[in-house]
Amino acid sequence: MGQAIECHFWDPAIRFDHEVSFTSEDIGGGITLRKPVFTVEILEKIIERIKQARQEYLRTHDILEVLDAIDTVNALWRNPTYHGRKTARDVLPTVTGFSIEMIELWGFNYFFDILKKDNLPLTGKQQPNNFKEFARCGDGLVKAYGKPHISHSNYEPEVIGHICAGNILGLAAFEMVMDKLVDAATWVKVPSEEPVFGALYAKSIEEVDPLLAHTIAVLPFNSDNTMVQEYLFSKSDLIRATGGERARKNLTELAERHRVPLAGHWHKFSFITIAREFLDAQAREIAELATLDVCAWDQQGCFSPQEIYVETGGRVSPKEFARLLAEEMETTSRALPKGTNSGKIQVLDGYYQYFTKETMGEPVKIFPSKTHQWLVIYEERNMNLEPSPLFRVIRVKPVSDIMEIPKRVTPLGSFLQTVGVAIPTDRLIPFADAMGQAGATNIRTISGMTLQKAWEPWDGRFPLHELFEHDGIHWVSIDTEDMDAEIKSALQRKRSIVDQRLEFKRK
């Protein structure tokens, strides 16, 4: 029998003057997605209700109660037998095209740790003067660049709206939690590519604390529905949006028209840098770790690497590293298979493009996957930064000194985001500093590029701070104070995911 999934959430006690009608979309696998058809009258009642619930709950309850409720919800989701997680497991591979292994092992098992009470970023505002050089924050380091010119402040936002991109699972949950920390009511536009998880998460809050949940509305609508967007923007104190270039253009215009501050997170470019010190007996381990960054979310995230720069002068050459990477890509891809929607065409395109170059005698070497699950390309001469076709297609390029990289990527400026690194601590700070000046925002230990820590800034701004104040500070983080220890624990994590999964498959 098929499964009908509701993609919306609001207080079920809301009474509308006219019955809400729904559309049903059969997405295959016996799954039907049900979405409401919005009118202004429906939206008015929903927004009034989340504002009222905010007054009744967030403005009267102790912050500790709110935090405890959020913690209880996340404990539910960390339990693999929780019914909401079971529904998500049944439905999300079909909805998103990601493999069940990716959703469960890389998604749920790590994502809900970010939202644990003890990990939540509860200091709303860091003071840039304390971070003129890289200084301790969370279990890593941050540095402030730029000047604290404040362009927007509202310390008591009543309604915050979120427009979530569909490339990464779980963003809607993160947004709901962040809003509750600043006592704001929330509406979330869930992405058309993944309209399911947001409503499931809101329902799990309702199971724990109905009034808290009723400060939230999950609204599935298409981004070309101008009536809905115009109305929601007119009723919001702030909008946080993630998306591509088209979304940036449209939403910026809309926000300007309604004079609502917009915290936008748009297209980014991320890559990996490996220093020669790690290209010795550790080279294979580093290749193992790099595979996770390439495979995670099938390279669809803004934090996914598009290129790998490998420093020359180590015992293992960049070309040899590319070969090791290919071997390890095969192993990791068996444990974390690519999803069903995930670009065989892109892999084949990459293959034929570079096959031509290779046969023409150019210094290119292709390391292909027989199953078109992935493609590693070693390219010796082309030092230009180029976007990858993604879907697990990765280029490896040699670099004679890692300090050449910041100069090379400077033209990308604010498009730079995450740099996955295996660099010894004594060389890491100058590299991170130069990358920060170039525009990058997050320096993360290799294999952790897609694993945002709760305390880290996001595109140069702290996610909580961004909800009440916008300023000219550009924050840059390094996710660890101890690179060797972080690599050791990353390797344990990788092996616990990949090796255990392969062992399970063998049985």
Binding site: D62, I63, L122, G124, K125, Q127, Y155, L181
Partner: protein, 133 residues
């Protein structure tokens, strides 16, 4: 209790006395160790930065005074005068104020956040002192 001006040395001395009378504060702050500087930064109504020193130790206030000159403490809790007024009138929970960026803290903020109930009792005590702003 007579009406006193906030901020003033008189106010912080009364605050110390009232805190030491509060059994509720003694109970919730019995594990607390650490001194504070409460820094009131100028805004439209207050022209000069004002700073209180307050030494809190296992549910008791050992010392409290208006600082003249330099002073160091384990924690520095800082915010504009208008936000301090909201706290004293019980219109703003200081922990929420910290989360929402209305106050900043120097020192391990997680330790303060773990003592949210003690912070609330500090506010309850402060709110009982009749003040003129």
């Amino acid at each position: 209790m007579s009406i006193v001006r906030f901020p003033s040395d008189e106010w912080i001395k009364i605050f110390k006395e009232e805190l030491n009378k509060s059994t509720a504060y003694q109970e919730v702050a019995k594990d607390w160790e650490g001194d504070f500087l409460f820094v009131i930064t100028p805004d439209e109504e207050l022209k000069i930065e004002t700073m209180f020193y307050i030494d809190l130790w296992h549910g008791k206030c050992r010392d409290a005074y208006l600082v003249k000159g330099e002073k160091q403490a384990k924690f520095v809790f800082k915010g504009p005068y208008s936000n301090w007024k909201k706290v004293i009138r019980k219109e703003l929970d200081p922990i929420r104020g910290l989360i929402r960026g209305m106050f900043t803290v120097d020192g391990d903020s997680r330790v303060i956040l773990d003592q949210a109930k003690a912070a609330q009792e500090l506010v309850n005590t402060a709110s009982k002192i009749p003040v003129v702003f």
